[in-house]
Symmetry: C2
DNA sequence: GTCTATAGACGGATAGAC
DNA sequence: GTCTATCCGTCTATAGAC
C-alpha cells in the first residue's frame, strides 16, 4: 500500500479531530446536553449529517473524548499496583497524577462539568463508574491496604485538592509547569503529613 | 386571620416541598437535563401541569433548590470579612465551611453533578458565576490579601479537599459527625502547613 | 465526504375545565 | 390545586442524491 491504511484516510482523521476539538470546547463551555449536533456542525461549517459519517452518535463523540483520558488513568493505576508501597512510590503516583490532569485538563474540565450527563452514558456504565471507582483505587494505592479512615480521607483530599488546585488557577497563571510543581509540592506535603514521624 | 397567611397555605407548601425533594433526588441521580418534568410528576402521582402551579418553570425548581445554599455561602463570606485575619478565624471559616457542605450535601452533590447545566441558567448568571466567584473569595479570606501564589493554591486545595473528602465518604460512614471532624482536622492541618514556623 | 430533507420522538410550557 | 389536551420548538438520527 502506497497510501495510509484505507480506513484511516488522512483527511478523514483531520475532520474527525476537528469535530472532537469543537465538541470538547462546547461540551465544557455550555454542557453536553445543551450542545446540539447542529451547533457543532455550524461551527465547523458542515451539516449535521456530515458528523454522522465520523461518529455513530452524539454519545460516541464524548466517548471518544473520554477514552484516552480514562486509559491513562487506568495505566497509572496498573503501574502503581506493581510498585512497592514506599513514600517514593506515593510521590511518583502524585507526580504522574498531576501531569495526567494537567495534560488532559480540557477533557478533565469537560468531564467534571458534565458528570451527571456523562455518567448516564451507556458506554460509561459498561466501563463502571468512570471516576468513583478509579479514585478509590488511587486512594488505596496512596494509603496501602487496610488503612484507617482518616488516612483514606486524607488521601482523597489530596487527590481532590490536586484537581481543584490545577483547575482553579489554570487560566490565570502564565507558567503551567510552575503551577504543576507548586501543586505537586503541596500535595506531597499533605500526603506525608501524618507519617512525618515514621 | 384564623388560617396561615393566604399565600402560604399549608398544603401548598407541603406539595411544593415534595416537588423539591423529588426533583433534587432526580437531578442529582441522573442529571438536570435528563430529568423531565413528566418524570418528576409521575413520581408524585400528579401531572406536569400541576408542577406549574408551584413553579414557573423547570429552571425555577432548581433555582429554589440552590437559593438557600448559596445564601449560606454568602453569609459565611460576609461574616469572615468582618473577622480579624488570625489563625483562629481561618479555622472557624473552615469549621463553618465543613458544616455548610455537610448539611447541604444533597444540594451540593446535585450542583456539582450538574455544573454545566446549572451554570447556564439565566438566574444563575445574574447572581454571578455560582461557585468560582465564591471560592475566590474564600481563598482570599483564608490567605489574606496579596498572598503569594503557592499560598493561594494551598488554600484552594484545602477547600477542594474538604468537598471531596466529605462527598467521597458520605455514604460509607456511619457517624457523619466524626467524618466532619476528621475532615476539619486534616483541613486545618493542611491550611496551617506553610505557616508552621510563623 | 458532504449535502438536503425529513422522519420520529420528546421536552417545556400554556389554556381552560373542574 | 389538579386535571386533560394541545401547541410549538428542538433534538437525534436516517435516507438518499451528488
Amino acid at each position: 500500500m502506497t497510501e495510509a491504511a484505507r480506513h484511516e484516510p488522512a483527511r478523514g482523521n483531520e475532520t474527525r479531530a476537528r469535530i472532537q476539538a469543537v465538541a470538547l470546547e462546547l461540551f465544557a463551555e455550555q454542557g453536553y446536553d445543551k450542545t446540539s449536533l447542529r451547533e457543532i456542525a455550524e461551527r465547523l461549517d458542515v451539516t449535521k449529517a456530515a458528523l454522522y459519517y465520523h461518529f455513530r452518535s452524539k454519545e460516541d463523540i464524548v466517548a471518544s473524548l473520554v477514552e484516552d483520558y480514562i486509559g491513562q488513568l487506568d495505566a497509572l493505576i496498573a503501574w502503581a499496583r506493581m510498585q512497592p508501597g514506599t513514600g517514593g512510590t506515593r510521590r511518583e503516583i502524585l507526580r504522574r497524577y498531576v501531569s495526567l490532569i494537567s495534560d488532559g485538563r480540557e477533557v478533565f474540565r469537560m468531564l467534571h462539568q458534565n458528570q451527571a450527563a456523562v455518567s448516564s452514558l451507556g458506554a460509561a456504565k459498561q466501563r463502571g463508574e468512570l471516576f468513583r471507582e478509579r479514585m478509590t483505587s488511587l486512594v488505596s494505592l496512596l494509603t496501602g491496604p487496610g488503612a484507617a479512615l482518616d488516612e483514606q480521607v486524607r488521601a482523597a483530599m489530596v487527590l481532590g485538592g490536586v484537581s481543584v488546585g490545577l483547575m482553579s488557577f489554570a487560566d490565570e497563571v502564565k507558567d503551567r509547569e510552575k503551577l504543576c510543581s507548586t501543586v505537586l509540592t503541596i500535595a506531597c506535603d499533605i500526603a506525608e503529613g501524618p507519617e512525618r514521624s515514621g
